[in-house]
C-alpha cells in the first residue's frame, strides 16, 4: 500500500471535456438570437437570470452555510437603484450595473450585522431586512408606493435592439458571475469556503478566516442577485415593489438549488434549467404550480437533500466543472479486502474536502 503514493488531481477527463463544452455552449448561446424568435430570446434571458439567482443562492447557502430567505432584498434593490440611477440621467443599460455596485455598498453594512446570526436566525433575520427595505422603498415618491413605476428611459431604444442587448448583457453577466464563482471556489478561498461549509468551528481552529470568507460570499451573492434584479427590470420595464421584493424569488432560488444539488457548482445550473422547464410547461397552472414547487422542495429536503446532481456525483463520481481536489489511490490487488473500503473512501475523499 505504501509503495505507490496517491495522485491528487484537480479534475477528470470528463471535466476537461466539459470545460471545452462549456466554451462551445457559451459561443452557441451568443449567436443563438440569430435563429430564435423574439419570444424565445426573452425566455432565454429569463433562464440566464435564473441561473444567476441559483448560483448566487447556492454560493451563499451551499458553500457559505448561510441559508437566507431574504435574498429578494437584493433583487428588489438591484431594480430599485437602476430606476433611481436612470431617473438621475444615467444611461439605462449602464445603470443596471452601477445599481449592482450600489447594492454591494448596501450589503456590506448589512453583512457586518447579520453574519453574527446563525442558521434559522440568519434566515429569518434577512427576511425582516427584506420586509423593511420593501416598506422603505415604498416611501420613495418616485416609486409611488405599490403602484410602482417604469424604466422609461429604456423606451428610446428600438424594441428588437433592446431585446438583443438585454439578452447579451444577461448572458455576459451570467458567464462572468459563474466564472468568478468558479475561480473563487477553485482558489485558496475555495478551500476555506468548503472547510467552513463542512465544519465551521474546525475551520476556525485551523486558521480559516470564517467571518471574512462568509462576508465575501454574502457580498458576492448580493452583487449577483442585484444584477439579476436589474436585468429582470430591463426585461419587464415596470417596477412594482411588491413583485420584486416578493419572497417568491427566494422560494425559486431554494427550489432550484435544492433540486439541482446544494453545495455543488453544477447543481445550481441544473436546478435553474429544471426550474425553467417546469415554469415553461406548468407556469400557466397558477397556484398548483406553486404548490408543486413547494412540495418538491419539501420532498427533496427530506429524501434527497443533496439534490439531483449531488446524488449523481456521489453515485458515479462524475465531475464536470470540478472545483475540488480528487485523490486517486493507486490500484491495490483485487484480492485485498480493503479495496472496497478504499473505493468508497475515494468517493468520500474527493468530495471536495480541500
Amino acid at each position: 500500500m505504501s509503495a505507490a503514493s496517491p495522485v491528487i488531481e484537480r479534475g477528470t477527463a470528463a471535466s476537461r471535456i466539459a470545460g471545452v463544452g462549456v466554451l462551445a455552449i457559451i459561443v452557441l448561446l451568443a449567436v443563438a438570437p440569430q435563429f430564435l424568435s423574439a419570444g424565445a430570446v426573452d425566455r432565454m434571458t429569463a433562464l440566464f437570470i435564473y441561473v444567476i439567482l441559483a448560483a448566487m443562492w447556492n454560493a451563499l447557502a451551499g458553500f457559505g452555510g448561510l441559508v437566507s430567505v431574504g435574498q429578494q432584498v437584493f433583487f428588489g434593490l438591484g431594480a430599485y437603484f437602476a430606476i433611481r440611477l436612470a431617473n438621475a440621467g444615467l444611461n439605462p443599460f449602464v445603470s443596471l450595473f452601477v445599481s449592482a455596485v450600489v447594492v454591494v455598498a448596501v450589503s456590506w453594512p448589512i453583512s457586518l450585522f447579520m453574519l453574527r446570526l446563525k442558521n434559522g436566525e440568519f434566515a429569518i433575520g434577512m427576511w425582516v431586512i427584506a420586509a423593511l427595505t420593501h416598506l422603505l422603498v415604498n416611501l420613495d415618491r418616485l416609486i409611488q408606493g405599490e403602484t410602482g413605476t417604469s424604466l422609461i428611459s429604456l423606451n428610446v431604444y428600438d424594441a428588437s435592439a433592446r431585446r438583443l442587448t438585454i439578452y447579451w448583457l444577461a448572458l455576459a453577466s451570467m458567464t462572468a458571475l459563474l466564472a468568478t464563482l468558479f475561480g473563487l471556489l477553485r482558489g485558496s478561498t475555495g478551500a476555506a469556503i468548503r472547510a467552513i461549509r463542512d465544519n465551521e468551528d474546525a475551520a476556525a481552529s485551523v486558521g480559516v478566516r470564517v467571518t471574512g470568507t462568509k462576508r465575501l460570499l454574502f457580498v458576492l451573492a448580493a452583487f449577483g442577485i442585484g444584477v439579476a434584479g436589474a436585468l429582470w427590470l430591463a426585461t419587464s420595464i415596470t417596477f412594482q415593489p411588491k413583485t420584486y421584493f416578493s419572497v417568491q424569488w427566494t422560494a425559486y432560488m431554494i427550489f432550484m438549488v435544492l433540486v439541482g444539488g446544494i453545495g455543488t457548482f453544477e447543481g445550481a445550473i441544473l436546478g435553474a434549467l429544471i426550474f425553467f422547464l417546469i415554469e415553461t410547461w406548468f407556469g400557466g397552472t397558477g397556484v398548483w404550480y406553486l404548490i408543486g414547487l413547494g412540495a418538491t422542495a419539501l420532498v427533496f429536503s427530506l429524501f434527497l437533500p443533496r439534490g439531483l446532481w449531488g446524488t449523481v456525483e456521489e453515485r458515479f463520481g462524475w465531475r464536470l466543472l470540478s472545483v475540488g481536489y480528487r485523490v486517486r489511490l493507486p490500484a491495490v490487488g483485487a484480492a485485498d479486502p480493503a479495496t472496497d473500503t478504499i473505493a468508497s473512501a475515494r468517493t468520500t475523499t474527493h468530495r471536495e474536502k480541500a
Binding site: 442558521n119 433575520g125 431554494i254 406553486l290 419539501l298
Partner: protein, 298 residues
Amino acid sequence: MMNQIIQGILLGGYYALIACGLSFMFSVMRIINLAHGSLAVLSAFALWLLASRFHISPFLGLAIVLPLMAVIGWALQRFLLQRSARGGALLPILTTFGLAIVIDNVLFEQFGADTRSLAPYIGSLSYASWEWPGSIYVGKLAVIIFVTAVVLLGGLQLFLTRTSLGRSIRATSEDPDTAGLVGVDARRAMATAAAIAMVTVGLAGAFLGMRATFDPYAGATQLLFAFEAAVIGGAGSLWGTLIGGIMLALAQTLGATVHPQGFLIGGHVAFLIVLFIRLYTSGLGLGGLLRLSTGKAS
C-alpha cells in the same frame, strides 16, 4: 397618548401568544419553524370554515381545531422535522419553508384571495369595549387576548417546571443525548413539545382572525411578528416573550403616529435596534437569541 400605550400593551399580548410557540419550539428542538405563521393562518381558516359553513362559533370551534393542531404539531415533528434535523441545522429551514409555501398556496387554492375575518361570528365581542377611568376605551376582545396570553404563558411555565413531562422536555432541550441516557424518551418529548407549540399557534390564529383580517398569504407577516417579539423579549423566560410582544406593539404604535405607513416599519426598526444592542453588548448572540432558559425561569 395614554390610550395608545394601553392599546399597544394589549396588542402585545397577541404577539406574545404567537411568539411563544416559536421560541418554545426553538428552545426544545433548535428549529425555527418557517411555517409557523402559515399554520396560524391555517387555524384561522379552519375556524372560519366551521363558523361560516356549520355555524359553529369560533370559541366552540377551538374545541375541534386545537386538538387538530396538536396532531399536526405531533406529525410535523415525527415526519418532517425529526427527519430533516438529522441532515444538519440548515435543512429544517428549507423543509419548513417548503411547507409554508405549500400551506399558503393550498389555502389560496381553497379559499381564494379574499380577506376574511372571524369578527362577524363572535357577536358584539368584536367591537364591545369597557370604559376605563380617564375616558379610555379598551376593547373586550383585546383584554381577553391579553389575559389568555398571560394565562397561557404562566400555564406553560408551570407545566415545564412542575410536571414530569415538562421536566423531560426541559431535559431534552438542554441535552437530548444525556437526557436519553437517564431514561427520557427524547423523541416523545420533542413530539409533545411540537404538539403544545401548535396548540398555541392555533390559539394565536384564532385571535388573529377575531381581531383582524387574514388572507392565505398572511402567514409570512405573522411569522415575522412572532420572530421579532421572541428576539426582542430575549433569552429570559417565557415572560420575556410577553415583554417582547409588548415592546414590538408599542414600537409599531409609535411608528404609526410618526408616519401613516410607519406601523410595520416601527416594529422592524425596533427589532433591528434591539438585535444590534444585544449582539454588541452581551456578546451572547450566536445561537442564543431565541433560547429560553426554561430551567431557571422564575
